[in-house]
Symmetry: D5
């Protein structure tokens, strides 16, 4: 099998991960990055720095040529229509309902600008709770102010 692009590498990662019985958290720990970023880069949605690409190749025993492709800049294609999977849909529902609220509070706290989606990081954690455990998602992005000229 020749590896030609990020899709090919993703297929291989999923296969080898299943075979090795690894979790995303486990892989992330082994290459010294967060689980969110690790999964996203494995899905071809982020470029890996050279050392991380090579670490991943070792962890999963991928063919060497996979490293070069993991380092390439991705073309990030995602569904423009709201997805139907309930677990993902709920995220759009939240952003749809609370988007204008987040915008209003960013402008109130920072001024005219945005939260960067490029200089950005995120985590997902499980929080125990007697009424039922909760999913906690934390996002952090650099504030970018609009330019006037």
């Amino acid at each position: 099998m020749t590896l030609e692009n990020k899709e090919d590498v993703t297929v291989l990662i999923l296969k080898f991960k299943r075979a090795a019985g690894l979790t995303w958290e486990g892989i992330a720990e082994k290459i010294g990055m967060s689980p969110v970023w690790t999964h996203s880069a494995c899905m071809g949605m982020n470029a890996m720095p050279k050392d991380k690409a090579e670490a991943l190749v070792k962890v999963l025993a991928l063919p060497q040529e996979a490293a070069l492709i993991l380092e390439e800049s991705p073309t990030k294609v995602w569904e423009q229509r709201v997805p139907t999977d309930p677990c993902i849909y709920r995220l759009y529902e939240i952003v749809g309902v609370y988007g204008p609220t987040i915008k209003a509070l960013i402008h109130e706290k920072f001024g005219d600008g945005i939260m960067s989606a490029i200089d950005f990081d995120m985590s997902v954690t499980r929080v125990e709770n007697p009424k039922g455990d909760r999913v906690k998602i934390e996002m952090s992005g650099k504030y970018l102010a609009y330019n006037s000229w």
Copy 2:
């Protein structure tokens, strides 16, 4: 002016807030709720418990009839097409790129289920940083497992 629905009340809230020189954080504190929930309920996207609706009416000196409408269950209508405002768009970009990642990690940590968008809360804060301050968004939702029958 007769108040007939949540849109009418929102217009009035924005007008009286501007006149009173209040911020969303200030209003939220006065009614003892979070800024995110307060703004969202003022926008007509959440129903207010009776005491909070009455507190808001006092804080902004709204007409008494506004309280009843603030208590009603909203019909939450939000854009199904990805919005163009850069501050809101970046949130969709994040959910579009990282949605499958969040799904994979929820399944890995909890099993087959979702993060509720109903039993849910959120905050937006400013985090100081020498390389440029950052926007921090924290979401928390109850984990709901699929039923088998």
Copy 3:
């Protein structure tokens, strides 16, 4: 034939079911689950608990590796455009016409919240009737109340 995902397993189930001359009701009874849930899980729209997956593998003499895939969390993709098949279209017509009515009655009976589509079950039965037999569909979902914070 290597089984790689739920689509592969569904194709096999349909083939073996036809060969064995089984009905969905028959299969459901044999694995001790309802026909609605059984068909849905066989279509790849629900994850099977381990014991049910293994029971199904036995009933249909599927290859052993099918069980692991039947246990995986599905990505539920369904048509966002209203489908054209008359039997399915009529369901959308009902939900389109009566959706706001169901919402109004849920709010009247429960308060501000929704019927869960996750903690949910459903049945389809035939009801004899001298004017022509009728299809009866029963849905039951947990009421979830909105959070205020």
Copy 4:
């Protein structure tokens, strides 16, 4: 105010219902019909038989001309895009996920045909449950077989 169409009558019904402090269940009982059908006809999505239209006019003290409009055949317009309100969206999610399952079971139980959405009725009830009360929706529609000619 001249009443010209079903939208005008709906606005009036909502106003007089709020003023009279009535519920949909209460109105339905007074005119001797089910709550689902009553709400739907008040929303302009079903035509009222003459005696029911006149009963409703009395119950809510509507102007007499409202009765004629309530009797007219409606043009049923509903959103072709999946609605965003969470309470209504969940119904589409159910129909999207389980639509092919319902179709398969109807064909298995009845043959090649559909459940009518015209010769049809529905109820919404609250079912007490120690783990949290549940919403129960029951639909019943006449089976219609395809014609061969």
Copy 5:
């Protein structure tokens, strides 16, 4: 060639029909059904009763397994966007322009209800005319009245 679904059978029918030099009218006559229904069932848009499926298999010398598939209930998928072929487009133009007229006349002649598209038949004939021959399309569907409950 293994026959797996209605698409496979349709391809075979078209091939054998061309080879045998038959017309749709000729095939229809041989199996004792109308040309409209016969073509539609051959296209996989209607289910064939057992005897008609077997008759068709004989007429076209199809493999025996085709009969079982011809008997299955189809999933009727048709273009939701108006098609561009001029011959088919004109039908949509007619329905687009005259749809509300047909609705008004059905309500005037029958009451609140619809013409069934399930208990339905249709014919297409050529009518000679000195100013240019004309296409005549006749549709007949059972009237279905809305239920009140």
Copy 6:
């Protein structure tokens, strides 16, 4: 009230028709045209010949200026998305399912060409039937052959 376009005239026609207690069949008979064409022209979807426009003005006692507007060529705007009203939707379902069949039979009976939607007429009638009365729709359009050059 100034009449400026076909929409204005349609509103007036509906109002005067209701006031006069007339049916479409009755109006059609009085102006000596078919009910389908009459309703369609009253809806602004067809242009009226001068004498028919004047006859209609007399029958309904419309203001004289309405005649001129009834004679104008309409801009026929109809929904490009399949309409949701069940009575009209069924017509699209028929055309969606049987469109390719009608095309095949027209080509078989006439050659490469279409049924005109311009040199066209249509009727809607009620046919008594002991199993339930039926709606009969008849369409007739001139055959137009493609040009080769």
Copy 7:
């Protein structure tokens, strides 16, 4: 290679045309038809009369079975979304901007009706001009008057 439909024939035409170093004008002249019609029929968008199909088969040395397929009535599928190729887009821009103008002038010159796209022909020519040569497109279609009945 078996020829099964118009797409297959088009691929072969393009290949043989390239190999033979022919132009569309050259082919058109050889079969005694216009270049516009010839290209369109080669693209599978028009049916060829028997003699023209056979002439084309000779000119390009196509396999004999291609003639039968060239004679078949096409299903004309074209992009319903405005195409992006600049050369084709400009044609839509012209029709978009000047469509209502053409309609107004047709009604002014002919009455209530249309220009046929079926009984229709077209040419594309190069016109020399010192300020830069110009493309000239001429269309001619039979006027069709609307029917009243």
Copy 8:
């Protein structure tokens, strides 16, 4: 009535044209321009040179301020979805079917480039014909070659 934009002027032109009993051809002749360009500029889809704007103001006795607005550069907004009016739709059908043909012939006659829709003119004429008169549309646009750099 204050004139604020091209829409306002168009409404006035239509009104005064009807009152004066003028045709587009007649107006065009009076201002010394073609009927196509004149109608298009009156619809707000082209900017008028100063002298033509003033000539039109005189011909139709428009208020003087209309001239300035007629001279402004328009924002040309036209339907991106194919329009439904049969007279305009046929133009899209022609461009949809023959667009790739026109492109192929332009490239064959000129090289890699397009027909300009900016340096462009058009005419619509009636051509007598014993088999039925024909509409003739002629378009002429400057050829523009792509740049290489």
Copy 9:
């Protein structure tokens, strides 16, 4: 006239600009900003710093309250469908054709990241040229590198 939002202020700016016979370049020069930014802020697509808002109010003699609204953060709403105006469409055509090229060159010159549309400026100038003057558009945006974490 009460000024309530940026739309109201834009209408006023256009009116007063026309009355004062000013150009965008002239206004921009008077407030000491670029023409691109000035026009954009006047259209409500950028927020004005306090001193610039006050300068604009003086230059155009706007009511004092306009300054506050000019300072507010805008909600930038723009057409998600490609616009039809030829002057704007050409910009989309350029971005559509050359977007992947710009992306490839940015990655080649900078690494994995983007050109900011927030920390951004632009100019439009006229460049004389004997073969026809040219429009020159220059854009400059800060390079933002993706974060790994």
Copy 10:
């Protein structure tokens, strides 16, 4: 591998470029053209003059037949929906926000017309900046004036 169209050639170019370790700038320099145009023509979005096609074939050691295909006029197909890749999306955001501004300034500086996207060139450069390097995009297109006739 037979080369049949521009897609085939693009795949080969990418493969040979990677193997040769070349950059787009390096290739562009070797064939004496700009990087933007070179990348775009290699992607199949521009036609190459004969000498440039042959130069490219030499530089990358492509099969000789690639030259002919590189010379062909492309059919430029680009996404009509705004793309999701952040690097490309930002360009649409800029054109969406500033499109009307560019239009207003072109009309102010030139009159009623457009910037050509055909007689057009573009460059992308890196500009050093102590606050972070910047991407500079320069576009130049011939001004084209609308025709009046």
